[in-house]
Structures are given as structure tokens and as C-alpha cells.
């Protein structure tokens, strides 16, 4: 009862039907048959796509670098298994549009032969910069779904003064349980990854050995929703020896795993609009990312596989399964005995924020936390009715916006008015669409409007550029004409001068 009054309030959110039990109760399946072909997109992260450095016909080993990162925010891509490069070309992307993007097609040879890796005996002797470099080289990105390159975040952590590292084990999306299972089965490795991350963010003086007591005041908080008791106990046991890592339980409420919601709950601080969390001294990573960091630093193994939840009403054998990146969804569905006739929608990610995919011939990527095959009865009704202004959407919005007003503005194409009342702060969490009794597809309006606003800004920018070019050209022409006039005048003056001299000479003669 007392905790009811002392607990920091959570803004908005919904309590969706969890449907995690089927997959959360059984261990991660490790015997997924190696697919014949893997389709590895060059962009599996936020930022610039990676640049391939292999050629068609090359034989590669598992973990070999296939494409290197280019630019400040990017991540490399490694071979998920050994085999021959078949093609580097455009294939449909795992995106609702399924538009083609560049991918490397790898024909596996079945040997699954690792490239020589360089394990580190004591990674705490490495400098923090070295940790980030190794994490970056291993192609690790945020595995919760955002796919932001982890090394960039670690670097930002060193540059800003970070005092709290939050490890996000909320996994608030319904159906998904891959983080839950990983925390239960791989708690020690995850905690080791957290320690390495803390080490990687240490702001050490030049040349000094970092990570020594007293030098680093950054603490880690592992936040786990209280519907994952076993994961909580496993993680707490694993973190017992390390006082700088605290494991806490947080209330089960979607979207608890949204970084700003989690930061507000854990630290009591609000991330200001338009700022990054690192600006208030907090950085946040997913538990899966911590595990990948552990593998990359301790064993030198790059990110080539991940745990994916395959679930939904149309799935015969729902499970968490470790698959090589680039595995086609259709192969996953075969393995998990998905009934294709019952499948009404394929979703990559969770049912609240995930993208619906047009077909199953698309590859899984680093950010794929789950693949759901939902039946019609599980989906939200689509018969849209008029808004009755019940304001349920306002109550559940975790960003404190007024979804119904924004949607009304967007409907009549007043996008600026929608931006004025906070369109850009919408995180597309789906709470408003979830709760709406009139089945209004609010998030769809917001996604459309965000895209449209961006396109208009780009068009405005382009026309401004064109206008500047035209102005510059006019100024240049004007300058040239002016110059020509001056030259002409000078020429005439010189001619007159010559004639005058000539006349003088003639007169002298």
C-alpha cells in the first residue's frame, strides 16, 4: 500500500494481453537447421549502409567481415555461416513496402566453419576506447529493435558524463519473450556484458588504465518487468557479486521499455524534448545487446545470429529460436509449423509497434526480435467508426499528446497544426490505436503525417537551394556583364588615348 504512494507515476500506457507464456516457458531452441541460402542486407542498422568488400564467388567463413561500416553512424556486416557468395544485388527488404535493398546472398556449405577469432583473456585490461572499437567492429547494434550502433552510444557515453547505465529488460511488447528467455538462460553472460559496457563508457585520463575503483562513478540498473520473476531472480543472482549493478523490478505496463518512460521511472529524470538521454547523464541498452557485447569482447565473435520469438495464433510450435541473421522468414515458419492459411498478418517485432510484412520471403535482420503470424481473430477490428471524443487515447498516450486532435488536423491536411500540438513527439507506440473504441487507425495517420512533413521539408529545402542557385547565377551574370562594360570602357579609353598620342605625334611631325 505504501509503495502505491511512493512509487513514481507512470504516464499513460496500456496493459495489453501478454500472450507470452507459450514461448517463455520453454528453453531457447538451438538446433535450427542451417538454411541453404542466407540473405544479408547491407543496412541492418540506423545510419549509412555498409559497403561490401567481397566479390561474387568468394568463399567466406563464419564471422568473416562481408561489408565494412562507412561514416560515423554505421555498422559492419559479417558472414552468419561459411559458404560461397552467390550474389550482391537488390532483394526485397524486411519492411512493409518490401522494396528492394542491397543484400549479400550467401550459399551455405553446411560446415558452419568459424573464422579464427581472437578471444581476450582479461578484457578489463583493454582501454575503454578499445572496447568501443571491438564492439563496433563486431557489428553490434541495439537488439531491442532500434538498431542504433552500440559503439556510437558507448562513445557518446564517454563524451557525456553518464552516471546511470540502464539495461532494458522490460520487454513490454506482448507475445515477445526472447529477452526473458535470454535473461533466464544467459544471466551471467549478460551481466558480464553489462560490466564490459560500464568499462567501455569509463572516462579515463589519457593512457591510464580505466575501470579501477573510484575512477568510474557510473552504475548500471537492470530493469525487468515484474511479470518475469524467473528472469529477475536469475539476473539478481548473477549480479550479486557486482555492487555497481543493481537489478530491479518495474511494473508491467506497455510501453515500459520506451527509453524515456524507463528513464523517468528508474531515475526520476525527464528527458527534455529534442534531447538525447545522454544529455541528462543516462544511457540505455537492451539485454540482448549486453549479451552480444560479452560474446564480442570475450570471444571475439561478431554478431551473426540472434534469438527470435516466433509466436502467434497461426504458429504450430511457438518458440524462441537462435537463428543466423539473413534467414528467410519462410524457413522459420516451416520450422515452427506455421499454418499459412490461418495467417492473416505477418509482423516483424511486437504486435504494438512491429511492422506488418507483405509476405514471408524476407530475411531476418539484427533488429528482428520476433516474427508473429497472427490469425484474424487476434487482430484488432478495422471497421472504423466516428470518434466519440471519449479521450481514451489522451489517457493512454505515454508522450502526453492529444492523439484525437492530431488525427483530426491530419485528416483535413493541416499538418502544421498537428506538428504544433506535438506530432514530432509521437513515438508510434500504438497505445492510442490499441485503446480506440472506434477502431480509428491513429498511428497510421501519424506515420503518414510524419513522412509527409519530412517530404515537404525536403521539398522546401530543395526549392530554396534552387532559388539560391538562380540568385547566384543572376549575380554572376550581372558581375560578368559589369566586368565586360568596364573592359569596354577601358578599351575605348585606351583607344582614345592612342589616337590622341597619334595625333600628337603627327602634330609633332
Amino acid at each position: 500500500m505504501l509503495s502505491f504512494f511512493t512509487r513514481q507515476r507512470i504516464r499513460g500506457g496500456v496493459h495489453a494481453e501478454e500472450r507470452k507464456a507459450e514461448t517463455a516457458s520453454q528453453p531457447i531452441v538451438n538446433n535450427f537447421p542451417l538454411p541453404k541460402k542466407l540473405y544479408i542486407p547491407l543496412q541492418q542498422h540506423v545510419g549509412k549502409p555498409a559497403e561490401p568488400l567481397i566479390r561474387v564467388g568468394d568463399r567466406v567463413l563464419k564471422g568473416q567481415l562481408l561489408a565494412y561500416s562507412q561514416g560515423l553512424i554505421s555498422a559492419p556486416v559479417h558472414a552468419p555461416s561459411s559458404g560461397i557468395i552467390l550474389d550482391v544485388n537488390d532483394y526485397p527488404a524486411p519492411h512493409p513496402s518490401a522494396l528492394p535493398i542491397r543484400m549479400i546472398v550467401l550459399e551455405t556449405d553446411g560446415k558452419d566453419e568459424w573464422i579464427e577469432t581472437c578471444p581476450v583473456a582479461d578484457p578489463f585490461l583493454l582501454t575503454p576506447e578499445d572496447i568501443s572499437l571491438r564492439v563496433g567492429a563486431a557489428g553490434i547494434v541495439g537488439l531491442g529493435g532500434a538498431a542504433f550502433p552500440t559503439a556510437v552510444k558507448l562513445n557518446m557515453g564517454r563524451e557525456n558524463h553518464i552516471d546511470t547505465l540502464i539495461i532494458n529488460g522490460a520487454e513490454c511488447e506482448p507475445y515477445l519473450s526472447c529477452d526473458d528467455r535470454q535473461m533466464q538462460e544467459r544471466a551471467e553472460q549478460i551481466i558480464d556484458g553489462v560490466r564490459l559496457m560500464l568499462h567501455g563508457m569509463t572516462n579515463s585520463p589519457e593512457g591510464g588504465l580505466a575501470g579501477q575503483p573510484g575512477m568510474n562513478t557510473c552504475n548500471a540498473v537492470v530493469a525487468i518487468e515484474d511479470n518475469k520473476q524467473q528472469a529477475y531472480f536469475a539476473m539478481r543472482a548473477a549480479a550479486e557479486l557486482f555492487p555497481q549493478i543493481k537489478v530491479i523490478q518495474i511494473p508491467t505496463r506497455y510501453p515500459m521499455g520506451w527509453d524515456r518512460q524507463l528513464i523517468r521511472y528508474v531515475t526520476g529524470k525527464e528527458v527534455p524534448v529534442g534531447c538525447r538521454s545522454s544529455e541528462i547523464g543516462v544511457t540505455i541498452h537492451n539485454v540482448g545487446t549486453a549479451y552480444a557485447t560479452h560474446k564480442a569482447i570475450r570471444y571475439g565473435q561478431p554478431l551473426v545470429s540472434r534469438v527470435i520469438t516466433v509466436s502467434g495464433g497461426a504458429v504450430g510450435r511457438p518458440m524462441n529460436v537462435e537463428v543466423p541473421l539473413g534467414t528467410l522468414i519462410s524457413e522459420l515458419f516451416n520450422f515452427c509449423e506455421v499454418n499459412s492459411e490461418d495467417t492473416a498478418r505477418i509482423i516483424m517485432g511486437g504486435p504494438m509497434m512491429g511492422d506488418s510484412l507483405p509476405h514471408s520471403g524476407l530475411p531476418t535482420v539484427k533488429a528482428t526480435s520476433g516474427i508473429l503470424a497472427l490469425t484474424q481473430s487476434e487482430l484488432k477490428d478495422t471497421d472504423e467508426k466516428p470518434c466519440i471524443r471519449c479521450a481514451s487515447c489522451v489517457t493512454v498516450c505515454p508522450a502526453g499528446l492529444r492523439p484525437l486532435d492530431m488525427a483530426n488536423n491530419i485528416r483535413v491536411n493541416q499538418l502544421d497544426a498537428a506538428v504544433d500540438i506535438g506530432l514530432k513527439d509521437c513515438i508510434s507506440c500504438g497505445c492510442c490505436s490499441y485503446i480506440c473504441p472506434s477502431n480509428i487507425p491513429l498511428v497510421q495517420y501519424f506515420k503518414y503525417a510524419s513522412g509527409e512533413v519530412m517530404a515537404r521539408q525536403q521539398a522546401a529545402h530543395k526549392s530554396e537551394q534552387t532559388k539560391r542557385l538562380i540568385d547566384d547565377r543572376n549575380a554572376r551574370l550581372e558581375r560578368i556583364a559589369q566586368q565586360q562594360r568596364e573592359e569596354e570602357l577601358a578599351r575605348l579609353a585606351a583607344k582614345a588615348e592612342r589616337e590622341r598620342l597619334k595625333a600628337e605625334q603627327e602634330a609633332a611631325v
Binding site: V14, S340, A344, I388, S433, Y434, I435, N439
Partner: protein
């Protein structure tokens, strides 16, 4: 491979809520006050309540048919029922039947359907109707009956209640009306006293 599916944005799952469910929730919340009100003011109050609610649904069905749409699903959402219910709760319990019918007509036609139906109304239809009734029929709208609970010996019986509702009030022991306080207030505000 699964053939082409129509893309859709999240949330893909939804709460099991609907417009009619919200209407029913409001009605559930109104029930205690309604039951108590009908008990307090006897059978005439029940008559007026039923007349108002039924005529509200009738006007709704009429308007929907006029627009060339199927009336049943719209009636089933409960919004017209709720409007009639809310209006009935604001009427004097012994008001004549035509107050309820005219009020429902004003609420549904003028308050709701001319704006475009459910969700498009500018004002609460029931309250708009109440204001219109109060302006148009001030005597009927300000004639309040004394409390005469159901099944009490001096309360009107079922048969007598029909006479009250359909034939108007007769041979009352006493009536209430505006007192001189209202008159004085008006005159004061206009500096005539």
C-alpha cells in the same frame, strides 16, 4: 510461402472495447440514480422515461432511414438510447408525454443528426434539447411534483399515472412555481426596484 498480405500499421492487436461498450458503461453508471428517481416519483416518472427513450430511438431510426442507411446497427450502438435516457433524467418527472417526445426529437434531430450523427455533434444533444424545452415550455418544465414514492398509499397508482402522463395534471393539492425571489432578482439586475 505465404502470399501477399495487406500491410497495416500498428497496433495490430486491440483492446476489446467498442463505442457501444462505452455507451453501456455510461448507462450502467446512470442506473442507480435512475432507479432511485423512478422510485421517488412513482409511475409517472417511469412512463416519461420510457416515452423519452423509445421516441429518441424512433427519431434516430427515422433520420438514419432518411439518409438511406440501415437503421438497426446504428440503433444498436446505444447512443440514441443514452441520449433519451440523459434527457429523461433532466425532465420534471411528472411532465406530460409530449415534453418527452418533443425533447427527444430536438435532441436527436437538431442536436445530433443535423451535424452528421454520432460523434459530430457540437453540443450534448440531451442538454441542447433540455435548454430548448426550457425556453419553449417554461411552465411544463418548471412544474415539479412532490416526492411520492412507488407503492405508497397516497402515491398515484399505475392507472392514475397514465392519466397524469397522457392527460396532464388535474386537481392537485398544491403546485409550485417561481417565487418572487426570481422576480426581484430580475428587477434588481435591471435597476427597476
Amino acid at each position: 510461402m505465404i502470399p501477399h498480405l495487406k500491410p497495416s500499421s500498428g497496433a495490430h492487436v486491440g483492446a476489446k472495447s467498442s463505442v457501444s461498450q462505452i455507451m453501456w458503461q455510461v448507462m450502467l453508471a446512470l442506473t442507480p440514480a435512475t432507479v432511485f428517481g423512478i422510485w421517488c416519483f412513482g409511475w409517472p416518472a417511469l412512463n416519461l422515461f420510457v416515452i423519452t427513450v423509445v421516441s429518441a430511438m424512433g427519431f434516430e431510426a427515422f433520420c438514419i432511414r432518411l439518409a438511406g442507411r440501415a437503421a438497426t446497427p446504428v440503433i444498436m450502438d446505444g447512443s440514441a438510447l443514452l441520449t433519451g435516457w440523459l434527457l429523461a433524467m433532466t425532465l420534471p418527472p411528472w411532465a406530460p408525454w409530449w415534453i418527452g417526445v418533443v425533447g427527444s426529437g430536438l435532441a436527436i434531430v437538431l442536436g445530433k443528426q443535423v451535424y452528421g450523427g454520432l460523434g459530430q455533434n457540437l453540443f450534448n444533444p440531451a442538454m441542447l434539447a433540455r435548454v430548448a424545452l426550457l425556453i419553449s415550455f417554461p411552465i411544463e418544465m418548471t412544474t415539479w411534483a412532490n416526492v411520492s414514492p412507488l407503492f405508497f398509499s397516497d402515491s398515484p397508482g399505475l392507472i392514475e399515472s397514465w392519466r397524469i402522463t397522457f392527460a396532464g395534471l388535474e386537481n392537485l393539492d398544491a403546485t409550485t412555481g417561481a417565487t418572487t425571489l426570481g422576480y426581484i432578482k430580475t428587477e434588481f439586475s435591471q435597476n427597476r426596484l
